[in-house]
């Protein structure tokens, strides 16, 4: 009997969180009948703060034949270092990367990281299962749809893979028991895609049209996570939780029994301009304690270049409606959007503070691979770090030194605002 191929799945998460992506990959692959009995999985859910050498030590201890790693802009440097060490020690291990950081620049990633064998582009579940099957059979990964892989000294990209039409065919990591819910650190997903097309974001562009999990699947996952022992709060990864009034009513109804027991939702992302008194009541009934929203900027030119809308009055009304029910609203601003000068950014800060929203988050623009801004960077005159996390260096309207000043200023404002009874 041939020993099963050992697959290690690695994620370097924010502290306290677990990787939903790895849960999906493993659940899908384990349900693939081609792989049954031929592949054995181990998941390493670690934190981005971990020393890459220690992470490599953990990986190598599993003696994997395949290492699959989820890569985002904020963990990419650490991931590449881990891959380099693992590749040195165990060159026979096929290292496969996936995630938003690498998909759009797969060939560049392979050229820059000699230890990496293949990159899964776009939605990963079906592609990764095919990659495993191909490797297990001794086939060529570069022939798998949605994969960019090495063929000799070259990096070769197979055609894109179509998105999974029926998301319910992706087994739930929670319902299959692969992911044990963690208090405060678990996420659910009710749909993929985004109704918006913000130029700096990968979400709308990377996943195209909206696809939904069924209501029955969502209900079962909510019960599994919210009802798990010790779970007092969790969140949703959906880009817009209040996608439609009907959907919000449905979710609120599903969550309300758990909210009545004290289970809370934290930092769910909402379209604040579509929140009225009725929507606020539904969110409160769902146990929502805090939401996250824009405006990202209030500058007209930046809004236009970022393909975003902003209705000041509706935004204000949305914040007021939630605050009236005790829901904290984390307002996000981005420093360095094309079209914004330093005074536009300050105007955004003043606007947000005037609403006393409960929380304020300012971050520097990251020009992410695959986004509209990445593709239009030269046209817009954006200077950014080619290395992850791809922070903006300067724009035609904000010079390098001004950008750094704005970052320090925004940080001090955040700290001052957050410091309260």
């Amino acid at each position: 009997v041939k020993a099963p191929m050992k697959v290690a799945l690695l994620a370097l998460n924010s502290p306290g969180y677990q990787s939903l992506a790895l849960g999906y990959l493993r659940a899908y692959a384990q349900a693939d009948r081609r792989l049954a009995g031929r592949v054995a999985f181990q998941t390493l859910d670690l934190t981005v703060e971990a020393d890459p050498w220690w992470v490599a030590w953990r990986v190598l201890g599993l003696e994997p034949d395949v290492l699959g790693v989820s890569v985002t802009c904020w963990n990419a440097r650490a991931v590449y270092e881990v891959c380099r060490i693992v590749g040195q020690v165990r060159p026979e291990c096929a290292i496969v990367l996936g995630g938003p950081e690498v998909g759009a620049i797969a060939e560049d990633v392979l050229r820059a990281n000699a230890a990496v064998h293949a990159v899964v582009r776009g939605e990963g579940e079906a592609t990764f299962a095919d990659v495993l099957d191909t490797i297990a059979r001794g086939g060529k990964a570069w022939r798998v749809e949605g994969v960019t892989a090495r063929r000799g000294d070259d990096a070769v990209s197979a055609p894109d893979r179509a998105l999974i039409a029926d998301l319910d065919t992706v087994p739930s990591p929670y319902l299959t028991g692969l992911l044990a819910p963690v208090d405060g650190g678990s996420y659910l997903e009710t749909y993929r895609g985004c109704p918006h097309r913000c130029a700096y974001c990968f979400e709308g562009k990377g996943y195209g049209r909206l696809r939904h999990f069924s209501e029955a699947r969502v209900a079962a996952e909510i019960d599994a996570v919210a009802g798990a022992p010790g779970v007092r709060s969790f969140s949703f990864i959906d880009p817009v939780f209040n996608l439609t009034p009907e959907r919000l009513r449905t979710l609120s109804g599903l969550l309300a029994p758990h909210a009545a027991r004290g289970v809370r939702l934290h930092t769910i992302e909402v379209d604040i301009e579509r929140i009225d008194a009725e929507a606020a009541v539904l969110l409160a009934a769902a146990g929502v304690g805090s939401v996250e929203t824009g405006p990202q900027t209030v500058g007209h030119a930046a809004l236009e270049k970022s393909r975003r809308g902003f209705d000041r009055e509706r935004f204000e009304n949305g914040v007021r409606a939630l605050r009236a029910l005790g829901i904290s609203v984390e307002c996000d601003l981005i420093v360095g959007l094309p079209g914004d000068d330093i005074f536009d950014f300050l105007a955004g800060l003043r606007f947000v503070l005037s609403l006393d929203p409960g929380a304020l988050q300012s971050s520097t623009l990251h020009v992410l691979p695959g986004t509209d801004l990445w593709e239009r960077a030269a046209e817009l005159g954006l200077s950014f770090d080619s290395e992850p996390p791809h922070e903006i260096v300067a724009t035609p309207d904000i010079a390098f030194r001004e950008m750094r000043r704005a970052e320090v200023f925004a940080d001090s404002v955040q700290r001052a605002y957050r410091a309260r009874v």
């Binding site: 300050l346 800060l349 005037s354 320090v408 001052a416 605002y417």
Partner: protein, 290 residues
Amino acid sequence: VLDFAEVSLGTGGDVRCGRCHGAADAVTFLDAATLAERIAEAAAGAGAPGPNVALTGPEPFDHPELPLLVAAAARAGVARLRIDTDAAALSNHGNAAGSIAAGVRHVRVTLLGGSSGTHDALRGTPGACHAALAGLRAYTRAAAEQDAAVCATVLVPVCRHNIRDLPAAVAAAGEAGACSVLLRVEDGGADFDAALPWMTAACDTGVVNGVWVELEGVPYCMAPGAPIHLADTHRSRAGMHGPRCAGCPLVSFCAGGPADASADVLASLSAPDGAAALVGRVSLVRGAGA
């Protein structure tokens, strides 16, 4: 950026340059009942985000009923209570931890310089600089231990006697855990031309150490380095008037221009010939207005 309604606990006892102002005035405190009323009034009149109230005036830790005042602020619904202090008391007997637990999430510490050689000499109190920085460290350390979000700021009253020490003051404040430093120019006889490089260096010292430096009392026409450091870019323009403004023909424009003009004006200042651009622009505006 955050406005605090100030309630003075009494008179005298200011931490200020002894060479400019002479010996500190004798301290008198108001009674707790009067102050509690004033705190409630200040809280009621404060705008968003808030209400935010600052206890100013003589050293608050010398007030015999400080705990009652902090409790009064809590009763009044104050969201952010700031104590303006010389910080010496913060490192004594659990004062820092106790203050944070009671709801004091903002402190503002006055430093006259970044070293004993400046601060102690100008204040006339040996050991005051060391005590202030130790208090600041105790406060931020206690906040970390309690996992409480706090904001420690440092106020530096700028005068001709401490101009050269401004970068060191910013560095010392940052090392002790301050998140921002306010340089407030109060000296009518200060030589701004000589001060400009030091204020610029102080701003840059702050940026590279992650400490925000804000300038108050610096006229529009003296924006050092970058206009974003000027208090006026995010606060009322009253703070932009310095002693040098007294004889300036442009002062009424600076004080009373349209609300959205400041961005343009400040942007023009960052141009290589900013001052000239400003004069030209003001002439144009006045001409159009007439």
